[in-house]
Every structure is written in C-alpha cells, then in structure tokens.
C-alpha cells in the first residue's frame, strides 16, 4: 500500500479525477503563465513516473513510518463524546506527527520527488507556518537549500514558527505585497519558481495551485484516510457514519475524505472559517459564501469582489486564512458528495478550550473549526453512530494567539 490515488475496495469506481489537464469537472486546470507550463509538464511526468515506482513508494512509506511516526492513532474521545451525548467521536491524531500537523505527509512526498528530479533548492509558501516548518524540516534532512515565503502579517502572528524555520536552516522571506498573508506568499513563491525553475522545486502546501499539485498533494495526504478506514474497520467492524475536517486549502480534508468517496454511506463534512461571521464579510469561506473564479493556477470557489479582485480574508486561524480552496472540494461541493459549512472564530475558540479541558489535547485553531462542527453534528447523528474528526495539528503554535485574544500577555 502506498500512494495510489483511488481508494481500494471500490465497487463501481467512477472515472478517476482529475482528467489529463487537471480538471475536476469545471474546476482545477493549469492557469499559469507560459513560462511555467514546461516545468509543470516536467513535474507531471516525474510524478506519474515515481508514483508507480515501487522503490519510491517504499521510501515514502518508510519515511512516514520512521520519521513522521505513522500510522497516527485513531483515538476515541470518550469523555468529550459522553458530554455531548450523541455519536461517538474519534480523532485522527495528525497532531502527533513529527512537526505537529498533517503537512509533513505532503512535504516528505514532494521532497523525495525533488531529490529524484535533481533539484537542489526548495521553496514553499506558508500561512500558519506549519507547512513552512514541514518544508524546512525535510529540506534540512535532505540537505537542500530552503526558502519559505510568508506574509508579513502572518510572520507577526506566528513568530515561533518563523524561528523554528530559521533554526532548521531555512530563509524566511517576508512578503509585503497585497494583503501580506498566505495568498500573497503563494504569489511570491510562484514568482520565485518562474525565475529559478532550473534548480528549484516548489512544494505547495495544500491541494491548490495548478495541475498536478491538487492531485499530487491529495495523493500524498490520502494516507490519512487509508489509515482511518483500516483503523476504524478494525475497531468498529464497519465504516464511520461521518467524517469532519477543516478546510483551508483543503489538504487535510481531502486526505481524509478521498479514500471514502465511493462509500456513499459515509457523510463528508468540510468546515471553513467563518471568521467574524459569514454575514460580516470578514471570513475565509469561499465554498460557503464565494463563487467560482480563477486564482493561483486553478479554477475554484473564491472570495472576490464584483470586479474579480480577490478580497481580504479573515480568520483567527492563519492556516485557514485563504481566499481560495482546492478545486476538488469545489467539485465535491457541486456534485453534492461533500457538504461544506463554516464555523466562526468564537465557536472555534470554544472548541479549542473544550477539547483541551475534556481530553487533555490542545488542538490547532484550524482543527478547532472541525471540532466545533463535530460538537454540533454528534448529537444530531445520535448515539449508536460514530464520526471521525481530523485533528490536523496540535495547538502549541496557537497558544500565543489564544492568550492575546483573551487579553492575556504571555
């Protein structure tokens, strides 16, 4: 078992998506300047080659086991479930991965690819800093030069992760253009890539960007869903009734969902960031409150104004503060296979505290959005049912944000 892109045990499997040009229905694609079309073709060819290379897969699996610490546990949150009085809630413990989030699954895969392609320099964009840390980590391990682009505003709110990246030997470049957040960091990384394509591999941190990134990142992250499926079957002898994951770009969500796509009895719930509330306009919920457009190399749901300009997003969680979303989620929304909801800052903070106090697990603020929705869903599903929440990361990085929000100086 390794990085196959479709779930095993599928009875009537639909045609695999994306198509050859990276389209998920009307979404996805390759909307980049001509200079990048050649490098993307090269990346696609390399990926297609190595994805079916047993040696590559074996190395990936070994790294996930020995370096990341996989499989990550599937933990039954008994006390929390009992308090909520409904479905049993399992947590997929991606927070226990090396570097503290699911992001490392993908950076391991892409870095192995970079090495095989003979690239000596790695670049990445980061919002919360988790993907930046995961990229700096694999770069350190493989002895590759690493540059991480990060919005000036995010640098301010994630100082610890900036320092972690620097300790790991990465150069963190502050992005001062546009809204100075994740989307601008992505723009800047793309500009670096187009300038240094010969020796540079761009590790995108989520299932966005031009084809093949959404498919490739998904494939590296489906280890989450494949493990969950197996672990849940072992524990319960059946499949879960629902899966819940937060959606920024959508990589932890698609990683969990994808191996269950054909299992139509399993509800899929993606949770976006409602920030101050969907009706305030200050949020980061393109699937819930945006519309389709083109940004960062793909067509997907976006937060934009009537002139097609991308608008500023808001969320207490830097990792969800992104105006777009992976194109496969856009497709899953339109097709009705998955549903998308939004949880605001205060609901996420409440869930952050609840999990910390009832289970002794401090969740990332991103993951707290999924937890907040699970707390609503569990009673609604009722006892006898069971759901799995992707606990995509640990909350140590957010302690400062939470304290500040609550008027406490650390």
């Amino acid at each position: 078992m390794a990085i196959e892109s479709a779930a095993p045990n599928m009875a009537s499997e639909p045609a695999p998506l994306p198509d050859a040009n990276g389209h998920f229905g009307p979404y996805g694609g390759m909307f980049v300047a001509e200079t990048l079309m050649g490098p993307l073709a090269e990346l696609r060819a390399a990926y297609e080659h190595f994805v079916s290379d047993p040696e590559f897969q074996a190395e990936f699996d070994t790294d996930l086991a020995d370096y990341v610490g996989r499989p990550s546990p599937l933990y039954l949150a008994e006390r929390w479930s009992r308090e909520l009085g409904g479905a049993r809630i399992y947590l997929k413990r991606e927070d226990l991965n090396h570097t503290g989030a699911h992001k490392i699954n993908n950076t391991i895969g892409q870095a192995l690819l970079a090495k095989r392609m003979g690239k000596t320099r790695i670049i990445a964009e980061t919002g919360a800093g988790q993907h930046g840390v995961a990229s700096a980590t694999v770069a350190a391990r493989l002895g590759l030069e690493c540059v991480v682009y990060m919005g000036a505003e995010d640098i301010e709110r994630q100082k610890q992760n900036v320092y972690r990246m620097q300790l790991l030997g990465a150069r963190v470049v502050s992005v001062e253009s546009g809204s100075k957040t994740l989307k601008d960091a992505l723009n800047e990384a793309m500009r670096d890539w187009v300038t240094n394509v010969d020796d540079t591999f761009y590790i995108i941190g989520t299932v966005a960007g031009p084809h093949p990134y959404p498919a490739m990142v998904r494939d590296f992250q489906t280890v989450i869903g494949r493990e969950t499926r197996r672990q849940f079957l072992e524990r319960e002898g059946r499949l879960p009734d629902a899966l819940v994951a937060c959606v920024g770009g959508g990589s932890n969500a698609i990683g969990l969902f994808h191996p269950f796509l054909a299992d139509t009895s399993v509800e899929l719930h993606g949770v976006e960031a409602a920030g101050d509330g969907l009706d305030t306009g200050r949020h980061a919920a393109p699937l819930c409150a945006g519309r389709p457009g083109v940004l960062h190399g793909n067509r997907t749901y976006l937060m934009e104004d009537d002139d097609g300009q991308i608008i500023a997003t808001h969320s207490i969680s830097a990792g969800l503060d992104y105006p777009g979303v992976g194109p496969e989620h856009a497709w899953l929304k339109d097709s009705g296979r998955a549903t998308y909801v939004a949880v605001d800052d205060s609901q996420a903070l409440a869930a952050f505290h609840t999990l910390t106090r009832t289970e002794g697990i401090i969740p990332a603020l991103e993951s707290s959005h999924a937890l907040a929705y699970a707390a609503e869903l569990a009673p609604r599903l009722g006892s006898g049912k069971a759901l799995v929440v992707n606990l995509s990361g640990r909350g140590d990085k957010d302690i400062h944000t939470v304290a500040t929000h609550e008027g406490m100086a650390l």
């Binding site: 546009g178 457009g293 097609g308």
Partner: protein, 275 residues
Amino acid sequence: MSRIENRFSILRQAGRKALIPFITAGDPTPEVTVPLLHELVAAGADLLELGVPFSDPMADGPVIQRASERALAHGVSLHDVLDMVTAFRASDADTPVILMGYLNPIEVFGYQVFASAAAAAGVDGILTVDAPPEEAAPLAEALHGVGIDPIFLLAPTSGPERIERICALASGFVYYVSTKGVTGAASLDLAEIAAKLDQIRAVTRLPLGVGFGISDAERAATLAQVADAVIVGSALVRQIEVYPDDPRAAMAAMTELLGSMRTAIDAAAPQAVEA
C-alpha cells in the same frame, strides 16, 4: 484586416520595428491614463499595452505589482479600463490597444459580454497572462468572434510542440517572454533570444514581439534587430515611483525614455525593406 495586423504590415513595409509601451491603467491615478496613452503615441509608440490591475499579479515583478496596487487603491475595474479605451479612441482611431492582465476579472465579466464590450470600446488584442492555450480556447473563441486578437506568450521554456500549438491559436502577434522570470527581471541573454525567435519564425508568419526586462534604449535597439516589436513595461512604470508626488514629471520622464528608445531602434534598424 485587424488594426494590429495592419499596423505591423505598414511597419514591415517601411522597414521599421514596433515599439510597444506598457502602462497600468489607473496608475498613479485614473485621470492620467488617457492623456498618457496619447503622449506615448506622440513619443513613438506603435501599439499600446494597457495593464488591467489585478489583486494578485502572479507573473509581475515588484514595479508592476505596485502599479496594480496604486490603481486598485482608486478602485479601477475592468469596466473602467474599457471606458479609458473608449475615451482614447475618440481621438486616436489607428493605434492598436492591447489589454494585458489576468483571467479572473474577465471570468467575472463573462467571456462573451466582455468580448463585445471590449470590441465596442476599440480594444484590438487581449493578453491574459494566466490563460495558456490549454485553458484559453473558450475565451479565444469569444474574442475571435468579435475581431479581437488573442495574444499569447511564448517563453524560453516553451518546447517545439508548444510553439506550434500556440502559434496556431494566436493572432495579431506573438509575445516572446525574454527570460525566465517576472516582468522587470534584469538579465537578458541576447543570443538565446535570437535563437529562440528563429525557432518560432520557422512555424509562424505572425510578427514576434519581445518583452520582460527591456530597460534602456540600447537594449531596445539590440532586440529590435532580431524581433518585430519591442515591449517596454517596468522601465516606464518605474518613473511613476521616481516622481511619486508629481505625475506630470513622471509622464515626462516616461515619454522621454520611450522617445530615446524610438530613436535608438530607428537608428539601428536595417534599412532594407522586406516584401
């Protein structure tokens, strides 16, 4: 014959090379743009490239990024840009105008509606940086339907197959990106550019423009020896930042720079007239 085709054919007969300035619409203020376009024509522009501001100009260097930000601070939209072209056309019926920008504002406008509005405004060509031929067919069709040329980029990384494919879809002219990088990048390899242009000429009769990183008269003249058109953007736009509080002075500096390029290109051009 489209205005672009016509302009290139006249230049070719005269043995001259085209000079194409780029400015961002609405930079530094919306009022400046139309007068500036006229002044650029007076200073020697053969065609005009008008940038449509976008919030996420992924293929642009810092100079044009900031130009976009200045224009957006005034709320300049694609509708406003079309109004500017209409105003320009009221007193210049001949100089081709090409809009250069990103796809999303056109997506929101709607391809068909946009194509009609752009044609009515007097736009001649549309270059959407982030719409390679793989994704551009529906837009190109809408544009062709109203007689607007879809302008495509070719790059140092474009292989023979892509060159053929893109030349087949393009009309007006082909825009060769001189270097791997964003607009305003510094280094140009002239021999490499010339070799690539030869390769492109082997598959198309369309005129070839070269842009990205052409910063002074000397480089413009050198490139004009091997290309049919030279496109200058960041070097002009930079003047707006040299005179942040004095748009008149910035405009004067821009027209002066363009004029010096015009002179240098004409002086260096081979006089022989091609058929």
